[in-house]
């Protein structure tokens, strides 16, 4: 890395907040150092890696930036300061993100200083559309606000299951919301996108599952709003979350990372692939990660495709699959597909179009109902055998109607309905529904998940929860309910919502 320009080194070290500690005197550095300035030659080979990614810092001093440098002008104004870690052993520069400072708002810097901060993974600054999007974790938010600080500790698994399943999950949506008459929708901050949400969701799942990140050997990221036409989100996730074994000298991760795309079922489609992979006899100790993430796109109201603007949300959802310490075993699956062009986005078009009256029937209803009923038939299940039904949720109406059509009662499907809180999170939509159910299910509950992706297809899965669910669930503070009912949620007006959604 040493011959890289600082701009790229900021990405390598700053994305993950890497540092070094001298094994002789304990001095710490925010960057890679082969020796310690205090100890000189004695410290060669004695330097230990440090990582502040999961840590809590403190805002030591700060100031208000109202005239940013050129690349930061889109932020308008923000608080910038020095963040200290380990009681001041290491200090890093940082921008406070997730805050919209109003023009007449009084700023008392002493109210910010001394408070705990958590590193957030964000876009670094604006660049030209043709350039690589720079990212950084030198963006922070207060740990006593929306996004709590949570420790990540690796827990040694103690039970291997016969069937593969979910060993942990995490959901990330933003602090900003826009209110419609019947639903609320999550709105990304300026520096957020599908990539940053994927990383945050993955971070949450690591925290909850306690798995060893170096044992992950496959990561799938499903999205239809990747800011790149060509360049995977999964590679960024793999590098920032250090998935798989890390080759430090070469700066690579021994993990397979791949993006998938199939409208809103890009992530659920590969649940079975992830499960099958860890079921492979030689791979029982490994984990596979699936993330569904979207900054769901919609044209502005009044423009063609603007109908979607009433429903689109923002968020990411991550599931970790494995054979050890499973919280929901995969009982079976069934998928269906047809070439139904109910919703599409042509290359180079910023916003999707949809097929109007055909988006419900024959698109959504037919595929969801077929996949679900086929799976139930295969597993010889009646609706009463299912404790929770989760389906893709582009709005409130569709999932409610399809649940009734399949014979499910309100208590079976209402717990999964999160679209009214976060909007339609596209690839993350039905996964967030599944996470919401896992947040409240009891052991031995059967969950039927049916996703839907325009274009069109559905994946139905049956999961059976295990006795390990309640314990693992307790490790996560940043639950769906926490994000849905957080006192620090900030509602924005329509202009701000469009501006935030467009981003840097």
């Amino acid at each position: 890395m040493s011959s890289e320009p600082i701009e790229r080194r900021v990405s390598y070290i700053g994305d993950r907040l890497r540092g070094t500690r001298c094994g002789v005197c304990g001095k710490e550095y925010f960057r890679k150092k082969d020796y310690c300035g205090n100890c000189g030659r004695r410290s060669f080979g004695m330097m230990q890696d440090l990582d502040f990614f999961f840590e809590k810092g403190e805002l030591e001093v700060c100031t208000f930036v109202n005239e940013p440098t050129n690349k930061f002008t889109k932020f308008g104004s923000f608080i910038y300061g020095i963040v200290s870690f380990h009681n001041g052993k290491v200090r890093v520069p940082g921008r406070l993100t997730d805050s919209i400072i109003k023009e007449n708002e009084e700023i008392d810097l002493s109210k910010f200083e001394g408070r705990p901060l958590v590193p957030r993974f964000r876009r670094r600054h604006a660049v030209e559309k043709s350039e690589v999007i720079p990212t950084i974790s030198l963006a922070f938010t207060f740990a006593d606000e929306y996004y709590p600080h949570q420790k990540y500790s690796i827990t040694k698994p103690n039970k291997e299951y016969e069937k593969p399943g979910i060993v942990g999950y995490g959901v990330y949506t933003s602090r900003f919301r826009y209110k419609e008459p019947t639903i609320e929708r999550a709105v990304p901050f300026l520096d957020e996108d599908a990539i940053t949400a994927a990383v945050e969701a993955g971070k949450m799942a690591l925290i909850q599952s306690g798995i060893d990140y170096s044992l992950v050997n496959k990561v799938y990221v499903g999205s239809e709003s990747n800011p790149y036409a060509v360049k995977p989100i999964a590679s960024k996730v793999a590098q920032v979350l250090k998935l798989g074994e890390e080759d430090k000298t070469e700066g690579i991760q021994y993990v397979d990372a791949i993006d998938t795309e199939f409208a809103c079922k890009a992530a659920t489609s590969v649940f079975k692939d992830a499960a099958s992979l860890v079921y492979y006899p030689e791979n029982h100790d490994a984990y596979a990660i699936v993330i569904g993430t979207d900054n769901s796109q919609a044209a502005p109201r009044g423009e063609p495709g603007g109908e979607l603007d009433f429903f689109v949300g923002f968020g990411g959802c991550c599931f970790i699959f494995g054979m050890q310490d499973v919280i929901a075993e995969l009982e079976g699956w069934h998928s269906c597909t047809s070439d139904t062009p109910d919703f599409w986005r042509r290359d180079l078009e910023p916003y999707p179009s949809h097929g109007g009256r055909f988006t419900g029937d024959p698109a959504y209803f037919k595929h969801v109902a077929k996949a679900a009923s086929k799976l139930m038939e295969k597993l010889r299940l009646q609706p009463s055998d299912v404790d929770y039904f989760v389906s893709h949720q582009p709005n409130l109406n569709f999932p409610t109607r399809v649940a009734a059509q399949l014979g499910f009662k309100e208590e079976q499907f209402l717990p999964s309905l999160q679209v009214a809180k976060f909007g339609n999170c596209y690839s993350g939509a039905s996964p967030i529904g599944l996470a919401a159910v896992l947040d409240q299910a009891k052991p031995d509950d059967r969950i039927l998940l049916t996703s839907y992706g325009s274009g069109a297809g559905s994946d139905a899965y049956s999961f059976i929860t295990t006795s390990q669910l309640p314990e693992k669930r307790n490790r996560q503070k940043f639950t769906i309910q926490y994000q849905g009912e957080n006192p620090h949620i900030e509602y924005v007006d329509y202009t701000t919502y469009r501006k935030l959604k467009t981003g840097l």
């Binding site: 600082i6 701009e7 900021v10 700053g14 550095y29 925010f30 030591e60 001093v61 700060c62 100031t63 208000f64 930036v65 109202n66 005239e67 940013p68 440098t69 050129n70 690349k71 930061f72 932020f75 923000f78 910038y80 300061g81 020095i82 963040v83 200090r91 890093v92 520069p93 940082g94 921008r95 009084e106 700023i107 810097l109 200083e113 670094r124 600054h125 720079p134 950084i136 030198l138 963006a139």
Partner: protein, 398 residues
Amino acid sequence: MQPRSAIIGAGRTPFGEHYEKEPEALVEESGLRALDSAGIERRDLDACYLADYFLPFTNKIGLEEGFFSELLELHVPMEITRCFSSALFSASNAIQSGRYQLVLVGGIEKMTDRWDKIRDDLMLLEDPWSYYAGCTPEANHELMLRAYIKKYGIQDEDLEKLQTALAYIAVKNHKHAIKNEYAQYQREITVGQVLKARTRARKPLGMYDFAPVSDGAAALILASPEAAKTYTDMPIYILGSASATDYITFSSREDRTSFIASTLATENALKMANIKLSDIQIAELYDQSTMLEMVSLEDLGFCKRGTAWMNIYDSCKDYKGYYLVNGRKLYVNLNGGLKADGNPLGATGGAQVFEIAKQLSGDAGERQVHIEDGLQYGCSLELEGFGTKAYVYIFGRD
């Protein structure tokens, strides 16, 4: 006192916005004035040491030495450095070593030609890691002030006094600049204006706390002490010179309420000059912000740590033209400082030395300081980046 080298001539252009002048014109103007005042021809020069930070960016001038060679029609050795003081450092070392007898030291900057990008350039120069976290050229000064307030537990009335003291610095420097025909801002400002700008910006420091971006050039003719006598009766000697360096990333420095580089350079320069700090009567300090003038008074040792604001406050309540420090008069930034004289990076140090040389030789016109026991010693502090490099010079006269 052992003179190391001698200034025998100095020239400068006005600082400000010179959109009508090409860099060549500024270099020529300052160079010719310096040569004139020394009474030498450019062909007498043994070498040139020149300073600029951004000419390759602002004016797309690549190999500056060649550009100067063509301009001066000279083929002597030429070296480029960033700040003027660093060019002067190399020049005086070369003269001290006996290699050259007559050397031109010059500095130029045309920052306003890149008005839309210069803040990014400055920030990338002074602290690239912080730049990528969102830092601005102003933010580090403000963080230093916040850290200072916190470290010394300054609050309530004292905090108000400190804030007023910083405003006084800007007001004082503008006052000095009125008598400086070269200064960018030859007008007075009020404490009210300084404070109002801070309120408007909602920041600890406002527009009037910071030096502007400027265009300008400055030049000196440096000679060996022996050669100097043949050209002038009043050479101004460089008695001490020293520089020191600090980490580029502000947040990783041990102490964020002072510049260790300034302190180290001062100690070494004084040692070399073999005089005491209290012998210094006039000082040109690097007031890129009012905060830096305050902190420099502590870094150089004129004021005790954490107390400079009290000296400034007391001296400026009813300003008599100098700071009263430990019962002694200390004249600071007589040309108006960077704040009012202007700050064309490569030339800034030249204007500082120009001022000291003029004052010591009694040639400062309306600005001339009169001291009963006679004006003997002056010093200058120039910084590169945000305290990343510090150059301190001790000047004296016969």
